[in-house]
Symmetry: C2
Subunit: 229 residues, 2 copies
DNA sequence: ACCATAAAAATTGTCGACAATATATAGATT
DNA sequence: AATCTATATATTGTCGACAATTTTTATGGT
């Protein structure tokens, strides 16, 4: 029930279905990052015409998962360290604001649901005596809920509809940018507290620190790796 | 030489050209906000096939200027007060961060160019003995420059490639959300100062206040209008 | 007169073919 | 042998036609 982007519509047209299949394939790396996309080849592979494949490609482009140059073709985006850090900067900014708005606009029911989710995650974390679950789906669930809690359609579209596909792609392919399990959980609780207190200013600050901490964590890992060489 | 989105590629394919024409038409209201888009009709109007028109529509959708429902069709987005306020929230967040990044990454040359631009705007403002120029193109130029100064491709894409088309659309159609001329100019100078001082924290704060002030200005006008009725 | 149903018209989605452009191959020249 | 040019191949862009779906209109019943 997790790892599913909340803005993803249920596919109705064939282009929709192929889009979602390709989305999955790109995020998981089955279609390699940076690789060129051959329209005739993929059309044959999915057993659809080139037109509908192009329709699917257009949606992937909308998510910033592929890039297109006129008369030349499409490429899957590359996963670079710089790209990852750029995404963190945007997330820090936007999710911080989303959190501030959530403190204003989330209903009491939504807040309670989020609290329930967190306790549920806590038990799961204990159950698995590890942090695997929380590192993966749980973290995303939390962030999605906050974003939706902003009740701001622009924020929701940009974050869930675009940026978070890339977030998941980087998480699958780099691996190193999963949440720092133990600390992340505490940070999440504090953020929910601030939202429940309707303290938007604090909520924004905490979310920004939460994301900035992840970014710095990665920057450190990078630095370590570079020292080894 | 302003009012031109810096991320807009020079059109190469016919779909590109039609896209830019329609972009212009929607922003200026020649294609009415909220109106339904008839593919056959527009294809005939632009003298292209429906396929290439659909290609253009896909790009408009990427800019969030039209919305599409499967098997039903496309509509131009509506200009609502709520929608405008949502955009301001996102701008406050993202442009604030862009400004912080600009203080880090802008080159000295870029900063000088921006200073030059501002003095040029000042003289124009005096020349026209009004604030028309600055209210329109000048303000956009300034904000574009800051955004580009972030050197963050994600920020640039989201702001220039998507959000600012909507900003311009609202400005054309509502009119009331143009910059508060006299104050805006001073605020712009202070922001540039902060960037030149490489004070990212201050730069972000000033930009956020600058945009928040515009938003509050609109909220007040709305409130006034509602009191009249 | 109103509502439900069925037929007709219009609109969107998908397909295959052709045109325009870019890439790869072969040949000629120095 | 290397470089430039010309040809051939492959890929992307555009077109018109058909299929599937939705909207409108017409019809009949209460």
């Amino acid at each position: 029930m997790a790892l599913v982007n909340p803005t993803l519509q249920t596919p109705v047209t064939t282009a929709d279905k192929v889009f979602q299949q390709m989305l999955h394939a790109i995020v998981e790396g089955h279609i390699a990052a940076g690789s060129k996309i051959s329209e005739p080849e993929l059309a044959k592979q999915y057993q659809i015409s080139r037109s509908t494949l192009r329709e699917a490609l257009n949606r992937l482009e909308k998510c910033h998962l592929i890039e297109r140059k006129p008369n030349i073709g499409s490429k899957v985006v590359e996963c670079t360290i710089e790209g990852l850090l750029e995404i963190y900067v945007v997330r820090e900014s936007l999710e911080g604001m989303a959190c501030r708005q959530a403190a204003i606009y989330m209903t009491d029911q939504e807040i309670n649901e989020m609290k329930d989710m967190l306790t549920q995650h806590a038990s799961m974390q204990a159950l698995k005596e590890g942090t695997a679950y929380y590192q993966e789906e749980g973290d995303l669930d939390f962030h999605y809920k906050v974003i939706l809690g902003s009740h701001n359609q622009q924020l929701i579209n940009i974050l869930c509809g675009q940026l978070y596909h890339l977030v998941r792609m980087y998480r699958c392919q780099f691996g190193m940018n999963s949440p720092r399990a133990s600390k992340a959980f505490d940070e999440h609780s504090r953020i929910i507290e601030a939202i429940a207190d309707r303290d938007g200013e604090l909520a924004e600050m905490l979310m920004r620190r939460h994301i900035a901490a992840s970014r710095k964590n990665i920057e450190n890992k990078i630095a370590e790796k570079q020292q080894q060489n």
